[in-house]
Symmetry: D2
Subunit: 434 residues, 4 copies
């Protein structure tokens, strides 16, 4: 079995390598190819060498190589995972800085920044999906690349390749946090996730099959705990908020329901340390220094400080379930097809799915609670507009996606930010500058 | 035929009297009763006397009287119209001042102010609808009272009386404004209205049956004109906004899509002249002075400076169409019942309806454009939450309605404003202070 | 203004000519071209000559001509009407005889016969619609050709021409019958029609705007009257049936709800007089004899014995309303677009529409009564399968359309009848015999 | 843990006892109470004694008793299963004989017979559900009683008890039959079941996670095999049928798609052996003779000849999964809640569900194939009408349910059969004879 990691030079790669090594007995991948683009060659070699050392130390029969030739790498692939960042951390810095400078949320996957990440990423991954469809049509494409929900929907609805699954670490993290709060093992916790990637709520929390959401909310509202990942703020939620919605929010909801406070914190942080991209850039520098150490043959502990920790764990479990027809539940991004009655069939949602060899089968959700139904419909309509604009490169489509985003929705500023971001990302947006 | 005007002491009454007089030949109303509450007795007498003089001058066989006894007034009524303001202009001033003081939109029918107007009004009109159902069950209740869409939905879904129609002057004004811009007669213009009261868009503009929306949008985006009524700001719309949405916005959309600018203007105006309520209070003082003049026997021209001008014209046309089974089109607020596919059947929408004796038959709309579908769904979900809270008097229901309103949606400020407004309006919110 | 009548040699043409003459002052058509195919040339000349005499006698300034060259005829057309019969009455005889011989309903627009009429007609009218789209794209195509609902849907969804409206005389007849029963003028009656062509029900009967359905049903169930047109049986409805459904059935419902009895009657009639097609053939022979009389300059009274009487009246009213932007209600076949919540947006339904210059605007219906919702959904799914098979020429698609028809639904007989009908109509089904 | 078996005197009881004994280690039921009505006392004792001997032989620590006092039996129950037959086999004989005598399908769960079985059963089980809700509200009610889908829906929507799951052996049988045909183990087969109880189709057949429906259909259409249970005819399916629908039919579909042939067979069988009820009566006589044998301490092999074999296996697996929070897939009858987009949320469907301690979570199905969507909608509308009539006892409701059933739908015969069946079952239909 062969796994191709697109964006193989990413600092996250050691995590996925560790995941593959750990699962070797049930998931017999024996060929891993790391692929990257020319600009990433140096990192690719550092990461590749570390991965090789990890495999050697683990003494598992896995061949690993790296290459810049993607088409060649895809030959015979069974799984392809993606963890790319078009334009690198420099582009991310612009996604963060420009909106912040106008007093709006500047973030990697939300607001204007998230929209532009989608604009840059979707065309690149569309090309990849077409190649997979041509070269290794039976391969599963496991997409980690953010905004993961939007990207996955673009591929599922607009590329010829239909074996695409999107993953995110937020549901995984929430499950683990709840396990911790409730003092049980993560595997005993199931959360009924309802909604969209980075906009998902928990409606039930089953602990060994018994719904204990009330206790969980009680604990959350008493501010005993929080469960935000490393890369985003964590303000906690007021008792009134929790008691009114009676849903488990995810950390990203802070951007939408605590906008002013998050903005203040983000602007303060920005003034102190620059954008999050710049913080990460420094962090990455250190990480790659560590990776270069020829004595290192393990995933270094520092990696967990990155926001994306556990992505790979989700991805490896998913591959394992697909390969072994496990029929267990994993929370992934897949087509709605009626799972949430309030959203169109072709919307990608984040939901609990039974995973068999044939792919994810979402468990029925029905209607969303009235308190979030309209908001979620609105978010999905926004996401679909982003995809439309990503593919058309049409200025008015892009403007509409700004106006439909609840973090922007300002006739004037939308236009100003859109123009600045288009100019700033010109090199990575060929569709807008035909 | 008998018409009962609830809130008969309102300064708007002369307009409706004029409308009835003008239509006397096709709409043979010969008995009008003005009803008001004790606090309004003085105004009621002033307005009633003026109305009597108008009728006398017009020499039409209409009996007119006034009373504080509503149950008696309702005996034998064919039409009941409502134009009440629970708490008067003082309450409105609070709805405006409190949100503005937190940097949020403070307005009569939108945002936190609109929510509280609904909280105060719905229980009072529920009581009226119950009386009508008991005393004059065949009467049509024509509701002008704002927030008109929300109030109408509350009555249609929660009161026993089902003959309720909500009217607003915005569609009427838009049609007249477009006629002016396009240099045609208002009766040659039909706009396909899609959406909700105070959140309605125009999708088509038929001039003598030919859809000329493109020309209209061209003119709008070139800022040649505006069509906001007297009581709200008028900022115009950018070319990019108009060309992206390709829909006719209504003036209230400025609150949602130009929030910051409107807020700046409103705060500046507030600093100069106090709240809009206070401006109107002054205006009303002058109006009633004019009304008292025993030589006045016409609707004075000053009345048109109030925001609500032409409400009565819509209401009189509606009564005329109902009575005469005219089968013509009037834009009213009525139950969706599938007219807009994206909204629930029991949602009240603002739509073009064919009016026959049996009531309004909405013309099918189908799916909303994707650019507004999510937003409108969200607004409707919000409205339904307001109704729920108005009836339950539950604090968490009220909080949710704040969080679901796109002009608030702030975990902290929602709570603060809610608490202040509850305290300020205590006397008119028995359901919240049981 | 120019009207092109495709299938101009039809015996119905004098009726439409009369309709045009009568409406000359409001609908100034001054050019009529009758088009037909070579096999119909003789009839075309007879009918054309009669039409010329009618116009001359009426002394109206209308030019009338006839031709076999359809493309030429279409130049500059404003309206195109269709009344064709692919394969003529011979084909109809087969549609009737073959199913009857297997003990199944054999009828022109229902069951196996109706399916094959669609199979023969749809490709021919698709070609016409393409020509119209190319040659006179602004023209309205008024389709009378049966099965009118299915044919109209095929054109609206699969041809490039979107200005297509389907008409049927059944709603017109029902309205007139009800007027007679209730002893009022037809123009005072409005029926709320809900459903599909030849499967439409009446939910309300407004007489001068007051819903009097209860009285109408009372009369119907007491068997005082019937309202079936000339071409189909008339068995009446039992009191239990009427009191249970509380809907106005249309005469075609007898095929579905009184299948055995209709079948017995039809088989008896068949044994006595042959198929209805053969009866009509004889009738037509006489009619054309009458038409040839050079002294005849009026629509002969005998024409009303044909089942399709008043089709043309509906069509002429429709053209008049379109031309004059009348905004009155006419019952036509048009796209659902949410009008009936239970059916897909792209389904053609038969519904009351407000007619303006831009086309028909259906009046919202909402959900169908639960007693017919499933049945109507089933019929629509069947109709869409017929269209699919008409276009694909795929044997399994055709078989499915047989199995989905409630008058067939027999695994074995479906196959037998399908095979026989395919063989019998071979010459007119090129798509199935590629 | 305590299990109460309502209708404990049924000949099926030994099967469920065997199931409980076999699963003793994972499903620690230690108290079983068999409940029956007075008329069933003799059978109850025979079955109870046999069950005691089975438990003794198996040497498992289960206490078993029997009683006529249902309320007492329910004290402390964890599971309640139902296998009652209101009116006994005599009533079934009437359900079969009366329709057959009019040339219509006379069958236990389909057509007029099935409707009357529902009319008799629903009020009785409503009473039981109310008692459970009062006495042992945490107990799961596992309903086997036919028509299982309709009965389960009646309880879930109209009784206060919400912990109700309906089971049927058809999906179990289909899975086993397919395993046999494909020469794999039943546990390696998953069928994607879509539809309603006794009207369910298979859309996918996963064998170890790979969808092999095409091969399965190939085998089915070549008539190599059949998979009908003992109690219904088995005619096989034509290649054309299978290739057109591309779905796995269930044996009951023969009633709907091969009506004439089934009817011929059934009438022939009836003439030879009387109704199926009478055949079963004889069979039961023999069975109970066998049960009385004091040396018998096992479920006798003859039991498998009854149509309902394996019901208990499904029920025991279900209890095991609920108790152990297994999160495995079992096909049960539960509320739709959006699982099938084409059906209302409150419809009970038969679908694959993940079973956790909290109950069944259906796996999302989305839209049904267009070939069956209308038919299934129609069946569900019919079922909901049956429930309405069962509860109202209204004659017109009952008539509508006859007219909405695709096996009847005859204005005249519906009335005749309805009247005869009402008369015949008078004693068991108090709601219709108030």
């Amino acid at each position: 079995m062969k796994l191709v990691i697109v964006g193989g030079g990413s600092s996250y790669t050691p995590e996925i390598i560790e995941g593959i090594i750990t699962r070797h007995h049930s998931l017999p991948i024996n060929n891993i190819v790391l692929v990257d683009i020319e600009e990433g060659q140096e990192k690719l070699e550092i990461v590749g060498s570390l991965a090789k050392r990890m495999i050697k130390k683990a003494n598992v029969p896995i061949e690993l190589s790296w290459t810049l030739n993607r088409r060649e790498a895809l030959q015979g692939a069974d799984f392809v995972s993606t963890q790319i960042r078009v334009g690198g951390l420099d582009a991310r810095a612009k996604d963060e800085r420009i909106p912040l400078s106008h007093g709006f949320i500047g973030q990697e996957t939300n607001g204007a920044g998230g929209i532009f990440k989608a604009f840059r990423t979707i065309p690149v991954l569309m090309k990849l999906a077409e190649e997979i469809h041509e070269i290794c049509p039976e391969a599963w494409l496991i997409n980690f690349t953010n905004p993961a929900g939007i990207v996955t929907e673009a591929l599922l609805n607009h590329s010829p390749h239909k074996k695409v699954i999107g993953v995110c670490n937020i549901p995984f993290n929430m499950r683990h946090s709840i396990a911790e709060i409730m003092d049980v093992k993560p595997e005993d916790v199931q959360i009924e996730f309802i909604g969209l990637n980075h906009f998902v709520f928990g409606r039930k929390v089953w602990i060994n099959g018994v719904d204990r959401i009330d206790e969980v909310l009680e604990k959350l509202s008493s501010k005993e705990m929080d469960y935000a990942p490393a890369n985003i703020v964590n303000l906690g939620w007021s008792e009134t908020f929790i008691k009114s919605f009676r849903l488990l929010p995810n950390p990203y909801h802070q951007y939408y329901f605590q906008t002013k406070q998050v903005l203040e914190k983000d602007i303060a942080a920005f003034k102190e340390n620059g954008t999050r991209a710049e913080v990460v850039q420094a962090l990455e520098g250190t990480l790659f220094k560590t990776y270069e150490n020829p004595d290192l043959a393990d995933k270094p502990a520092e990696l967990e400080k990155r926001g994306g920790a556990y992505y790979s764990d989700v991805a490896c479990s998913l591959m394992d379930s697909l390969y072994n027809n496990r029929q267990n539940i994993i929370t992934v991004n897949t087509l709605n097809n009626g799972t949430i009655s309030d959203l169109p069939d072709d919307a990608v949602i984040e939901a609990n799915c039974l995973i068999n060899k044939d792919g994810p089968l979402p468990i029925s959700i029905g209607s969303l609670p009235s308190s979030i139904k309209g908001y979620v419909s609105n978010m999905k309509a926004f996401e679909q507009q982003v995809i439309k604009a990503s593919l058309s490169g049409d200025y008015h489509d892009a403007y509409l996606s700004f106006m439909m985003n609840p973090l922007i929705q300002d006739e004037q500023v939308a236009e100003t930010m859109l123009n600045e971001l288009l100019e700033a990302h010109k090199d990575h947006l060929p569709q807008f500058f035909k």
